[in-house]
């Protein structure tokens, strides 16, 4: 029998009632890159290539340290990438190579 007060089966995302730091209502304007992540996510969902349930499952699998540290759209871009890998839409080799290319391109702009 799982002990509710001790279980590790509670997901890192399942926060209701866990008192952490005091609540402060803050917000920032969405950055363009965040809106792009949102748009890609919606477009993939519309095309039937990404379910919200899958996306959430991938976010929930981040692990506690990353879940706490990453911003919302950092979590999303990570999770969308994981699902694209799982579905065979992109390969890990392709993502790795493209990240290097993008990095080099941006560095050359400095």
């Amino acid at each position: 029998m799982v002990n509710k007060s001790l279980t590790d089966y509670r997901g890192v995302h399942d926060l209701g009632g866990l008192l952490c730091e005091p609540f402060v209502p803050d917000e920032h304007d969405y950055e363009p890159w965040e809106k792009r992540v949102h748009a890609v996510r919606e477009l993939l969902a519309t095309k039937g290539l990404l379910r919200v349930d899958e996306l959430r499952r991938a976010v929930e699998g981040l692990g506690e340290e990353k879940y706490k540290r990453l911003s919302y759209y950092e979590q999303w871009v990570w999770a969308i990438s994981q699902i694209m890998l799982e579905r065979g839409i992109v390969t890990d080799a392709e993502i790795g190579a493209r990240v290097e290319t993008v990095h080099a391109r941006l560095a050359s702009h400095d």
């Binding site: 089966y9 209701g16 009632g17 379910r51 349930d53 899958e54």
Partner: protein
């Protein structure tokens, strides 16, 4: 379509269960009793959808009203305060 097992006003208990996968039953509501507020319709099971299965047959989804004092014995707000949460039928059992 699966007929809903519960009706508005029925007393129900949210199952005290701890699966390890994706699910939509918040931890803090498990084992709590409340009343059916409405049947929202039937929806594909997210516990299956998350792993790319089809989630069929669709499962009745309810809104369940829970008294705050039941969930949090040390609740300091007003005694009449409540919470409503969407719970799939397979997470509910009759509370007699």
């Amino acid at each position: 379509m699966t007929d809903p097992m519960f009706s508005v006003g029925d007393k129900v208990r949210i199952r005290d269960a701890y699966p390890i996968g994706h699910c939509r039953t918040p931890f803090y509501t498990r084992g709590i009793t409340g009343k059916i507020e409405r049947h929202c319709g039937n929806f594909a099971n997210p516990e299956e959808l998350a792993y790319r299965r089809d989630g069929q047959p669709a499962v009745p989804l309810y809104r369940v009203r829970l008294p705050m004092r039941q969930m949090w014995p040390d609740y300091t707000g007003a005694p009449l305060d409540t919470l409503e949460v969407e719970i799939f039928e397979h997470w509910l059992e009759p509370d007699d």
